[in-house]
């Protein structure tokens, strides 16, 4: 709404309110005045008629009263008058025919109402007076007043509107001229001026406007000059450069900018709106898809939060219709101007694509390599978990390919691999994948082989997998013509199934590898399923080996120490270190389950060193806590002894932990002593250092007495299986006794293992056993609890006797 209209509307509104208020007050006052007059007139009439009626009733002369009443009907406000005596008989009325009748009922009707009063003498009621007053004259008078008032009000409103419009026109006439001049300036007519005579505020605004236009022209000229200066350096750079004003209009750009976007817009004009530019890019966009359309994002897709970095720089790479990749980098200056730097990165993108392809594909065959295969297999497994789809992983190895390679040369070998990869690619479905592992090994995953209907592979699934594997093998059968040679080659395939043989890509590949091994072992040109090739133990072993390697890396082991008690003194004389595996899924795993595997896989070396290092460090802590003379017994695997660096490793640990040599006892099994030459030498070196040697599990192996004679054994440990029945079996008791006597005869100490009852302990003491360990005397505890055992508990003879019951 224009200022003129607002002024006119304001004046009109104020006048309208004023007129309405005056009209309302006048009418209200007029009505109240008329009402008061009517009431007063009615009261006077009632009193007058009352007095006249009273006199008439006293004198019983009604003629004059009747004449008087009849004349009253000339009053437009009075319609009917009825006067009755005390007996209810009409004595006078405006209708003479009513005289002598009984007083009628007097209902009010529209615009008429009755006023009734009793006529009383000085001390008695004489009769009654009823007058029917008419409101018609009052209403008529009010209506006339209202009509007059409305006419005046309408006239006033019309006049007010005219006056308001005139005032608005007068007040804004010069402002209107100023606005017209400003519009001309806005349209580019920089010569436009306004002449407003006078010295009031509007005239001053006019003069200021003219001055402002002059300054604006000068500034525009300066800006043009600056822009020309600015654009020249940008022409020298290879990137496109554009500057958008705060209101997002293109104010300058260089030649590269025009060149980059020439394919989508041959003529980019100065003054172009940024929104149009953004819309142009979106229109020609091939990829990647913008987060929102230009319209939805306020015509500024490059301003989306997704593309802003922390400095407010907006970067994006877009692929336009002609296969042209363009990098857009835009940011706003503190003055809200937008600076854009644009680069044609089509060549760079092509290079990146080549590198990415080479990183994920085999250079010879063009097949995906193991890395890409792993990613795709992981994706396929994720989908299969969601959909319940069954999936097969196949490990394929060419039979006797080495003969081709060695016999006909690598070039022929490579060409053969290329041909084989093509056949493999053709022999699988669109949803399957073939990749080259390297050499003559290929890996595949096959889909569409059924769903997970049961927890085990059913016949149907196996048949499907078998058919697919057979098809692949058969695709190899036709001879290959390579370099003039007709080459016949077969392959072996190991197949694992998801989810029966593993739920991860690694497990499935390992399982397929095992199956391949079995297929190879069973003959060439065959395929083999994991289920038929390996039993559960093999799989478990594979899994366990993997987990064990990880456990060694993450040190998922803990060490417990079981007290060894001198049965004569009752003193704690030593502890045996016992290892436990804190499996993240299965909890504590006993050493029986993993020590053998660790020995077979060679992990025992690193695990054994970790045990020795940890226990010696723990012993130092005990010494610092006051347990000076406690002996530490550590189990050593035969595989550790065979490692050439064992002696050096143990010396290093003992030196690092300042372990007293005479307090470290190495527990060996009879198996460790079977390689006599090297072992004898090693044990001599160890005992020479001051270490003591204990023969563990004595009685369960060969129990060769020659070991006791040939090796420097300090102590033998009677196996728990003998101790268990020592009190119940006469033979076991006799054997234990004989062993103790024999050891003592060779000046070798004896430790009984697995003592769990007082009877066992009693017999062992009776037999002269030197030391014992077992749950009766102390279960394995953490290292920090050994100090408490040494200080608080005592296995004095009396206590031992008490323990014996």
């Amino acid at each position: 709404m224009s200022l003129r209209s607002r002024i006119a509307a304001t004046i009109f509104l104020l006048e309208f309110i004023l007129i309405a208020a005056v009209l309302y007050i006048t009418l209200t006052h007029s009505m109240e005045s008329v009402d008061r007059q009517i009431n007063s007139s009615q009261k006077v009439t009632l009193n007058l008629l009352g007095d006249l009626s009273k006199a008439a009733l006293i004198t019983e002369e009604f003629n004059e009263l009747q004449s008087f009443i009849r004349n009253m009907t000339r009053d437009p406000n009075i319609k009917t008058v009825i006067i009755g005596d005390i007996d209810g008989e009409v004595i006078a009325a405006t209708d003479p025919d009513m005289v002598g009748d009984r007083l009628p009922t007097l209902p009010d009707v529209d615009h008429h109402y009755w006023q009734r009063i009793g006529i009383h003498g000085a001390s008695a009621r004489l009769g009654s007076l009823a007058i029917e007053f008419s409101q018609v004259p009052l209403r008529s008078a009010f209506q006339k007043t209202l009509n007059l008032g409305m006419a005046v009000a309408i006239a006033g409103i019309v006049i007010t509107a005219l006056v308001a419009w005139s005032i608005g026109h007068v007040l804004t006439r010069r402002l209107w001229r100023l606005a017209i001049a400003a519009d001309k300036i806005a349209c580019g007519e920089s010569e436009a001026r306004v002449f407003l005579p006078g010295s009031d505020e509007v005239a001053r605004v006019g003069r200021a406007f003219n001055s402002m236009v002059d300054r604006l022209r000068q500034n525009l000229s300066a800006v043009q000059t600056s822009r020309d200066r600015l654009i020249k350096p940008t022409e020298a750079i290879s990137e496109g450069f554009a500057l958008w004003s705060a209101d997002d209009r293109l104010v300058l750009c260089n030649r590269p900018f025009r060149d980059i976007f020439e394919t989508i817009e041959p003529s980019l004009e100065i003054g172009m709106a940024y929104a149009d530019f953004a819309r142009l890019i979106d229109k020609n966009l091939v990829g990647p898809a913008p987060a929102q359309s230009a319209d939805d994002a306020g015509l500024d897709p490059l301003d989306s939060a997704r593309e802003h970095d922390e400095d407010g720089v907006n970067t994006r790479e877009v692929l336009l219709g002609a296969g042209q990749w363009v990098s857009l980098c835009e940011f706003r200056t503190p003055d809200r101007e937008r600076v854009g730097i644009y680069s044609d990165i089509t060549a760079q993108k092509a290079t990146e694509e080549t590198i990415r392809y080479q990183a994920t594909h085999d250079a010879l065959t063009g097949l995906p390599n193991r890395s890409l295969f792993g990613e795709r297999l992981a994706d396929a497994l994720s989908t299969a978990r969601d959909t319940g789809e069954r999936l097969a992983v196949a490990f394929l190895d060419l039979d006797r390919f080495k003969l081709v390679n060695d016999g006909l040369g690598h070039r022929i070998g490579d060409e053969l691999l290329l041909a084989i990869s093509e056949r493999l690619h053709r022999s699988v479905g669109e949803r399957d994948m073939v990749a080259r592992m390297g050499g003559d090994e290929f890996i595949l995953f096959l889909r569409d082989i059924g769903n997970m209907g049961s927890s085990h592979v059913d016949t149907g699934n196996a048949a499907t997998v078998g058919a697919r594997a057979e098809h692949i093998l058969e695709s190899m059968h036709p001879p290959f013509n390579i370099g003039g040679h007709e080459l016949h080659i077969t392959a072996s395939i190991g197949v694992s199934l998801f989810p029966e043989d593993g739920r991860t890509a690694d497990l499935l590949l390992k399982a397929a590898d095992v199956a391949l091994y079995n297929a190879k072992a069973a003959g060439r040109d065959r395929w083999q399923l994991v289920h038929s090739a390996a039993d559960g133990g093999a799989l478990e072993r594979i899994v366990l080996e993997s987990q064990l390697r990880r456990a060694v890396e993450l040190e998922q082991f803990t060490l417990l120490y079981q007290p060894q008690i001198n049965l004569s003194s009752g003193q704690l004389v030593g502890v045996e270190a016992l290892i436990r595996w804190r499996h993240p899924e299965e909890g504590i795993v006993a050493p029986e389950r993993f020590i053998t595997l660790a020995e077979e896989t060679g992990l025992i070396h690193s695990l054994g060193l970790w045990i020795l290092q940890t226990t010696c460090a723990q012993h130092r802590a005990w010494r610092q806590a006051g347990l000076e003379e406690i002996r530490l017994a550590v189990n050593i695997s035969p595989y550790q002894l065979r490692r050439p660096s064992f002696l050096h490793d143990i010396e290093t640990i003992l030196r690092d932990t300042e372990m007293p040599l005479d307090l470290l006892e190495l527990e060996l099994t009879e198996t460790a002593l079977m390689q006599e030459g090297e072992t004898t030498k090693l044990l001599d070196q160890l005992t020479g250092m001051g270490l003591s040697i204990a023969l563990d599990d004595f009685g369960t192996g060969y129990s060769s007495l020659s070991y006791l004679r040939r090796f420097p054994i300090d102590r033998i440990k009677i196996d728990r299986s003998f101790v268990c029945d020592i009190s119940g079996s006469q033979s076991d008791g006799a054997l234990a006794r004989a062993v103790i006597m024999l050891a003592h005869g060779l000046n070798i100490g004896v430790v009984a293992e697995g003592v769990e009852t007082a009877a066992q302990l009693s017999l062992l003491r009776h037999f002269g056993c030197d030391e014992a360990q077992g749950y009766l005397l102390g279960e394995p505890v953490a290292g920090d609890q050994i100090c408490n055992l040494g200080v608080e508990r005592s296995w004095q003879p009396s206590n031992l006797a008490l323990a014996m019951g």
Partner: protein, 296 residues
């Protein structure tokens, strides 16, 4: 008449008991009394008290409503106060015997008793005084001094008019011939006419001169005073049973002007006394003279 300590006339009880005794005897022995009782049985539910309109009707209502109310209480029956706008109308109603109890001036009382079946109950104790008032500077001091002039009087049927006229006749003057007579509707206009010189004198009750407030009373003086006659009186129609008549009379006579609001409201400043047979003899004589004059 002597009064007892309460102001009640001492003679009243004796006459009351005598009348009561005779009434009771008559009721028991006389068949005519029984007929009168039958007549009383036919009486309307309310008695009508007619007051001579010597003042405007509303004033009559204000002054005599307490009287009617007192009668109602005494008789245990409604007593309606009634009057007329003019003396003539009242006389006509009286002639029709439309009132059961009346309060009238002496001339109407005589007429009502002799011709319309009313019996007097009680009269004002003091006699009525009528005077001719002249201007202070008037030379007139007797009736003869007024011969040839015109005097103002109240309406024709007013007691004062009749009494002055009767006095003029007694003095040998002929009202309307020797002395011109002009009747005014009220006393104030009559006295105003004297002061303005329209009439030579004005006949009014004597007490009026002491109550004039609208103009200077000292500008007037009394030139002639008419003979005294008995004053206004209550009368009862003979159809009213004796018992009620007696109750009414006893009540009226019991009023004391000194301390009874009912009679004090009437502004006569005097008590009521029983009517004796000779009380209105002179009034009847004046009435006869006036009738003789009228016949001539």
């Amino acid at each position: 008449m002597r009064k007892d300590a309460s102001g009640r006339p001492k003679g009243a009880p004796r006459s009351f008991w005598l009348l009561a005794f005779l009434s009771a005897l008559g009721i028991m022995l006389s068949p005519s009394v029984s007929a009168a009782e039958d007549e009383a049985q036919a009486l309307p539910a309310a008695y009508r008290l007619g007051v001579f309109p010597y003042m405007p009707a509303l004033t009559i209502d204000r002054l005599y409503s307490p009287v009617a109310e007192a009668f109602s209480l005494e008789l245990n029956r409604l007593v309606k106060l009634r009057t007329k706008t003019t003396f003539e109308n009242f006389a006509a109603a009286l002639a029709e015997q439309s009132y059961d109890v009346i309060f009238v001036h002496p001339f109407l009382l005589v007429d009502a008793v002799e011709h319309h079946g009313y019996q007097p109950l009680a009269r004002l104790e003091k006699p009525m005084r009528a005077v001719l008032a002249v201007r202070e500077d008037s030379p007139a001091s007797t009736l003869d001094d007024l011969v040839g002039g015109t005097i103002g009087l109240p309406p024709k049927m007013a007691a004062v008019s009749k009494l002055i006229k009767a006095a003029m006749i007694e003095a040998g003057l002929r009202p309307g011939l020797d002395v011109g007579v002009r009747h005014f509707r009220n006393k104030a206009s009559c006295l105003e006419a004297v002061l303005s010189g329209a009439v030579a004198a004005c006949g009014v009750p004597a007490f009026v001169l002491s109550q004039i407030e609208t103009f200077d009373r000292h500008a007037l003086r009394i030139a002639f005073e008419a003979p005294l006659i008995s004053h206004f009186a209550f009368a009862v129609h003979q159809r009213v049973p004796n018992a009620d008549r007696q109750k009414l009379q006893d009540l009226i006579l019991s009023w004391s002007a000194a301390d009874d609001d009912v009679v004090r409201n009437l502004r006569f400043d005097q008590d009521f006394v029983p009517v004796a047979p000779q009380d209105y003899v002179s009034v009847r004589a004046y009435q006869e003279r006036l009738q003789t004059l009228a016949l001539r």
